[in-house]
Symmetry: C2
Amino acid sequence: MGYGYRGKVLRIDLSSGRIEVETPDPIIYRRYLGGSAFGLHYLLKELKPGIDPLSPQNMLIFTSSVLGGTPLPGATRLSVLGKSPLTGGLGETEAGGWFAPELKRAGFDAIIIRGRSDRPVYLWIKDGKAEIRDASHLWGKLTGEVSDILKEELGDNRVRIAQIGPGGEKLVRYAGIVNELHHFNGRTGMGAVMGSKNLRAIAVRGTQEVPMYDPERAREIVRWFVQEYYKPQPGDMHDLGTSRIVKPLSDAGILPTRNFREGSFEGAEQISGERMRDTILIRRGTCYACPIACKRIVKVDEGPFKVDPKYGGPEYETVASMGSLCGVNDLRAVAKANEICNKYAVDTISCGVSIAFAMECYENGILTKEDTGGLDLRFGNAEALVKMVEMICRREGLGDILAEGVRRAAEKIGKGAERFAMHVKGQEVPMHEPRGKKSLALAYSTSPTGADHMEAPHDPALENLGPEAGDPLEPLGLIEPMSSLEFTPRKVKAYYYCQILWNLYNCIDMCDFVGVPLGPFPINKLVEYTQAVTGWDTSLWELMKVGERAATMARIFNFREGFTKEDDTLPERLFQGLEGGTLKGEKIDKEKFEELLELFYQMYGWDPKTGFPTRGKLAELDLLWAVE
Amino acid sequence: MGYGYRGKVLRIDLSSGRIEVETPDPIIYRRYLGGSAFGLHYLLKELKPGIDPLSPQNMLIFTSSVLGGTPLPGATRLSVLGKSPLTGGLGETEAGGWFAPELKRAGFDAIIIRGRSDRPVYLWIKDGKAEIRDASHLWGKLTGEVSDILKEELGDNRVRIAQIGPGGEKLVRYAGIVNELHHFNGRTGMGAVMGSKNLRAIAVRGTQEVPMYDPERAREIVRWFVQEYYKPQPGDMHDLGTSRIVKPLSDAGILPTRNFREGSFEGAEQISGERMRDTILIRRGTCYACPIACKRIVKVDEGPFKVDPKYGGPEYETVASMGSLCGVNDLRAVAKANEICNKYAVDTISCGVSIAFAMECYENGILTKEDTGGLDLRFGNAEALVKMVEMICRREGLGDILAEGVRRAAEKIGKGAERFAMHVKGQEVPMHEPRGKKSLALAYSTSPTGADHMEAPHDPALENLGPEAGDPLEPLGLIEPMSSLEFTPRKVKAYYYCQILWNLYNCIDMCDFVGVPLGPFPINKLVEYTQAVTGWDTSLWELMKVGERAATMARIFNFREGFTKEDDTLPERLFQGLEGGTLKGEKIDKEKFEELLELFYQMYGWDPKTGFPTRGKLAELDLLWAVE
């Protein structure tokens, strides 16, 4: 079989309307697998550095992987890549759902989009064919409406739709792309890029079987996972969803609260996964082929914050960013904020952080009622929160400024507002606290997409990096437990290995909740499964090297766009002690951070002077082409 | 099971006569496995830098591995480490045979020897117990004699004996250690170190079973190997031994001939594996648990070069170093030279290269009959060759100078002799030609033991690095064939990966002829086997990292002893064109070499300015302790 996996890539030029189907050399699959590395391979080859991310020159790449569409739980994610209008560097984001498997069943591994249509359009892909269609009737509509119209129009209820909402149309810089109304490519503003291209949606339908080299062996592993390995239990991801960690994090002092001033939230119980289960939860949702079903479907029928279950329910990130981070303890308000973001297809993390930023500005007199349109934008005001979310999604009033992200908003507002702007490289910090989970200091500062919890391990469970023997991480040789607060060279090493692994996940489009480190899936089984699907006699060595390759490609991309090692830093607040909560006073020591960052560079083969990969490392990863 | 493999280490202090048994922390096994890394771990912790290698301060470490003594063909090697009297840097050498498995069956993974006995002694180890015994009656005797005496004296014919010969007693700087009279720890002069300690032999007998975590799974892999995988065929290692490559190498222009002046030898057929099989071969020999049986047993009854089959027969290295390298086409003379080296326990490679050096000096008038004791020491003189071997082993006349190795001999002789001294870091170049197998330029220049073919891949088969799909190297991601003469960044990458793998072999004490790259054993099977034996949920990633760790530890060791990056070079001759043979004119381009060497450093995480591992790389490999 060798490197014989074969697939197809769909190329769309929205300016000319040209549609092409490309058959990449099999070695491209072996070297890049899919997702992150596969997309970066095209970006580095074809995207001109220095272009405006919202111009027709930008590319927008949707990609699955060599495992996509096969029955392994978790191997289901959809990566979207382009140049980010939020950071000016790499835009990359992954979503669960059904879109990627459907794309595979339609015969494609990826879609590469360029140009700009002169009118709103959508893309209709079915079984190896694609068509650009008018979308004038969809423009301005909420995501739920568009979904209904398209299914009707295409006469097929099983069509899978990835779309932007009015947020993306209005170029909210952190607008996302949503599939099936509640699976989000949330971060780095890929929805704005799609909006700038006048592309409202992609509908896909595939009826072909996704071929596997050794289907029997592959299915045996899936059976083992479903029957023997994943055992639902109270308090787990199925039972409580991602919000299961709200209370434990607050207790541990690492639940981001009031714009990262504090780490414990007095209202944690009220916005917890348990509370959600016992009140507004009506169903659990899932992704293609996954028995875990971590997704929430919530409904609120009465009161000021009615919520339509069509739009799913809030994840942990949303609960924290709209809840504790804004000091809001009203779960219904949080669910409403989530619903609005989903209707408009806007990233809940950046949105919540932008509002928390505005709240702190407001409490410090930097913003006034005049700026907020009369809203009393103090921490804890649930009504103001929900109103502000809507204003951002519609770019109304202060919302128009906050829709630019906190970095640009702080610049515009001035008066020292930047000290409350929690971002790295322009992207807002997600809901994990580096002062209590020290490896996040490396994660946030070096992630190519700016502060990002999907580019690097971040779970508190994992923060006993490495785990006890018998743990899924054992095959990496991470066998000595260490504490979350430890910040030493061995933590850097453990983080580095996990970071490569997560990069690999972003290349095989594996869900972090199913795969290790977060979930239960043993790495060696994943290697076996990859062997079974592709027929390659591959190994964890080769696969981890794809992870390293992806990280290195992202680094090259950002440096081409003008980033330097000076951009690998953290908001000043994180170098100061937490002002409240269990870990009050805990901080990132700046000197230690700089020392360990240098070690991290060296582990990756990046020159600590420049932060750029050495020529030897590029040669090792077959990436010299990308700098020549 | 975690990192729960447990074993024992025997510590002997020959000065005080103290014997101790140590039980290392299980993590030591997981991190170092055995062999190279395991030994280096003790050397770096306990050996004072700067000591005289022939002083009592030197350590001599015999080590097997976590796989030693289990039934996998090839996992049978014995590593011996110490500071080398030949190079002044790391001494390390591996031998096949039965000694290591027997040591495991006696309950030990390793023996650490220090000090110096005030009289000749030998060590007797049986089932967990050890004893230092008088060896006055053995001193001065040939290896075969000592073997007979000890088996008689210990009353057990199944005792396994590793010993030095009169060569080690006389501190020939490249004296080796031999077990079962024809399995050689040949290189880096560990026999001289043993001689300097007045330790003539170690006899071991073990009757315990070597425990395995999952014996059934382990035996299944062994069965698969023996029944399904290894199929003897004409022309293979079993049929022709390692000398099967003599003719192909000569045809390809890469058989070292007349002190590396040429690459094809007109007498190749006469010293070939085929000729050996058809004339002097009487039996094939093997190592513990191996069905391949690549070893030769030869016998010559008449003529000037009678050979006793007790001492086995010449390997390829010997055939080339005593044959083509000295211009000698008489296979019987070569076999005789081999027999003498085995009787005296002297490394045939360094011995042959030293004689070829002397021959070239002689032909250039730098040495005369006066120096040679009347011998007409020209290339091709078989009788002079055999005589000279004996003189070296006994340190007689010119032999006393050549017993110092070519670097020291050239210094002593002067008159420009150093241009004929084929060595790196003081160790003589083995029988593989970098000008025709380009990655050897990296191998020889960077090997921690000086020019060495067991520290890095060197086989012509492998020089199509990486191989076609389906090859055992596929799990490394080396899937694109390349030519032997290519010398480009991608060759460096392929070499780097193979080099790590070979380092790993030296840690699990796996034979290069059974394991990949040379042999047929798929890497992934080896990982599975390691899992079965140890119970660790390990992976190729973790194991390769042990290989990297070993290489990095060796680097640290040498730098502590004063080596710098300036020592990573080649004899000047290799930068000049071959003077004859199929590849006449082919050379290593010096500029290219320096460029690629820098890439190689960077791949390994070595600072190209200093050649020393970066702090980040040391942290990644858990080696900061070794520099603090």
